[in-house]
């Protein structure tokens, strides 16, 4: 039996009277894409926030690579290999695309207390950053400040920064949000290749993308996981159809 890379056990989080996370347990296995779907406000981003360490759960534990990380800071978890993208692009606005990725590379190498060598003249770091940008299709945009990139380009840069960390698992919060059909298609192909590198916990509203990618699906409604299984099982689950897929299918 293979151990999960990431597992959540009985996680709960309330905002006042609102139960945003209600006794959630789930696992992410090596090599898989586990998609988390659910209507707006179901608590998907709140869950990612707890995994990445920005939000402290009220109860429950998070285990990553066999280690309880529930008490660790955001930066500590990232250093252990949790790479995330944000639902609303969160980049360094005045830094170019290249420099955003270079910051990720610098963080991965763990050398941020260096005062003498000019980082922008570091050929190897630049080359590596540009290679990553090329992978996500941003090769021509390396020198553009991230604030001046288009929405879709910023989504891709989010992924590029996560790639730079060479994480042991990816947490992607709606990476396709606001992308055109062409962009979504390209990203679907890209993510399909990416899961060989590290498993992905994918939050996504685009159902075609989810059904094309997911090895496993969990459905979150009002903070609770109401169903979990293969794409086929979820498609045919009556509770899911009623609560979520309902009318749109």
């Amino acid at each position: 039996m293979v151990d999960p890379v990431l597992s959540l056990s009985h996680l709960s989080k309330s905002f006042g009277a609102l139960k945003a996370t209600d006794d959630v347990s789930l696992t992410l296995m090596p090599g898989e894409i586990h998609a988390l779907i659910g209507p707006n406000g179901a608590g998907k981003s709140t869950l990612i926030g707890q995994i990445s360490g920005r939000i402290a759960p009220d109860a429950g534990t998070i285990t990553f690579k066999g280690r309880d990380i529930t008490g660790l800071s955001v930066a500590q978890r990232a250093r252990l290999g949790l790479g995330r993208s944000f639902q609303i692009s969160s980049l360094i606005p005045e830094y170019s695309a290249r420099r955003n990725v270079m910051l990720g590379l610098q963080a991965r190498q763990g050398h941020s207390f260096r005062f003498l060598k000019p980082v922008m003249h570091d050929r190897r770091l630049r080359d590596e950053a540009e290679a990553i940008l090329a992978k996500v299709g941003l090769a021509g945009r390396a020198s553009v400040p991230s604030a001046e990139l288009s929405h879709g380009e910023r989504r891709l840069l989010e992924i590029a920064v996560a790639l730079a960390l060479e994480p042991a698992c990816f947490l992607l919060d709606e990476p396709m949000a606001g992308m055109g059909a062409e962009g979504v298609g390209a990203l679907v192909d890209f993510l399909r290749g990416l899961k060989a590198q590290a498993p992905i916990l994918l939050i996504e509203h685009d159902m075609d993308a989810v059904f094309a990618l997911a090895d496993r699906l969990s459905v979150l409604v009002y903070g609770r996981i109401i169903a979990s299984g293969s794409v086929e099982e979820i498609r045919n689950d009556p509770a899911v159809r009623e609560a979520y897929l309902g009318d749109s299918e």
Partner: protein, 325 residues
């Protein structure tokens, strides 16, 4: 002309102007002019320090005068004990700048480590208020400590010395201050271009992103805060020697405000912003201070205009916005 070239030209004008005017004054026999330019250099140095915290790291420290003041007291106390042969907690006095400067920097750095450890957990208005509160605490401690002058401050009868120079001569003291300022600006440039600087400037823009890639913002900010205070502390030691007086007023919140004003006028985060800002501040003080007690009112007006119409200060006005690459 591209912005980068223009900025280099401006920097050269500021660095050389700051050197050549006093040189001219030296030949023309105007020690007052030299002293005015020494003040500019020292204020600029103090602001280069603050520019690391505020300009690169976005930490609006409203208590940086405390490091300036502590540097001054180190110079004053060391000089007093060198003069009277007594000791400070068993440590003999010294009148050698080469000893006093590192001690002033270490004292300011240690204080910043303590204050930073508390205040850097907060941000925004809370950070501003906490740094102010700590600085005021130290200020009130200084004015209530009679051994070292209390409210009256501490006179330095003979300036501390530097090998090969006569620091009592205005030009000699000026050239020391100018060289230290250039060294500090060089250090600022190195830090800004380094990996540390990359993380620091990123934290100013988006600390959540920096944490999400695995760099802990707190450690970077604390280190920057300490370095920043050390440079400002060095400036404080020079100021005490220039005015031959370690003054509690150097620690007052108004001084903290003036350092921030210098940075905003010159251009937040810009390499030579502190020089431009200090020149304007001291210029106003000298030109209008002689005419009216209310020269700060006019300075305030200029500050208001800067904030409203020239957000990036003098350097940005002349050389355009900075591109971080």
């Amino acid at each position: 002309m591209p912005d980068k070239r223009r900025e280099y030209a401006l920097n050269a004008v500021l660095a050389l102007g700051l050197l050549l005017v006093p040189l001219w004054a030296y030949w023309a026999g105007s020690p007052f002019t030299i002293t005015v330019f020494t003040r500019i250099a020292i204020f600029a140095l103090a602001a280069v320090g603050l520019n690391i915290a505020l300009g690169l790291g976005g930490m609006v420290s409203f208590g940086h005068a405390v490091y300036f003041g502590v540097g001054g007291y180190v110079a004053g106390i060391a000089a007093q004990h060198a003069f009277n042969g007594e000791t400070f907690l068993g440590i003999a006095g010294a009148n050698q700048m080469l000893i006093i400067w590192p001690v002033a920097m270490i004292a300011a750095g240690l204080l910043a480590a303590v204050i930073g450890a508390f205040s850097l957990r907060t941000s925004g208005i809370f950070f501003i208020m906490i740094t102010l509160a700590f600085a005021q605490m130290v200020y009130y401690f200084a004015i209530s400590w009679p051994t070292y002058g209390g409210e009256d401050g501490l006179p330095i009868y003979v300036r501390n010395t530097f090998p090969g120079l006569n620091t009592m001569r205005p030009w000699n003291l000026f050239i020391l201050c100018w060289c230290l300022l250039m060294l500090a600006i060089g250090a600022f440039a190195l830090i800004r271009a380094s990996r540390f600087g990359a993380a620091l400037m990123a934290i100013r823009q988006n600390p959540d992103r920096v944490a999400a890639v695995g760099i802990s913002p707190f450690g970077i900010k604390l280190a920057a805060f300490v370095i920043s205070a050390m440079i400002t502390g060095l400036a404080g030691a020079l100021m005490a020697d220039l005015s031959r007086f370690a003054s509690p007023a150097a620690m007052a919140w108004t001084m903290s405000g003036e350092l921030i004003v210098i940075i905003i006028l010159g251009g937040t985060g810009r390499l030579f912003g502190p020089v431009a800002g200090a020149a304007v501040l001291v210029g106003f003080e000298v030109i209008f201070g002689g005419m009216t007690e209310h020269w700060r009112l006019w300075l305030g007006l200029v500050l208001l205009l800067t904030v409203l119409f020239a957000r990036g200060g003098i350097v940005t006005l002349i050389a355009g916005r900075e591109r971080l690459g």
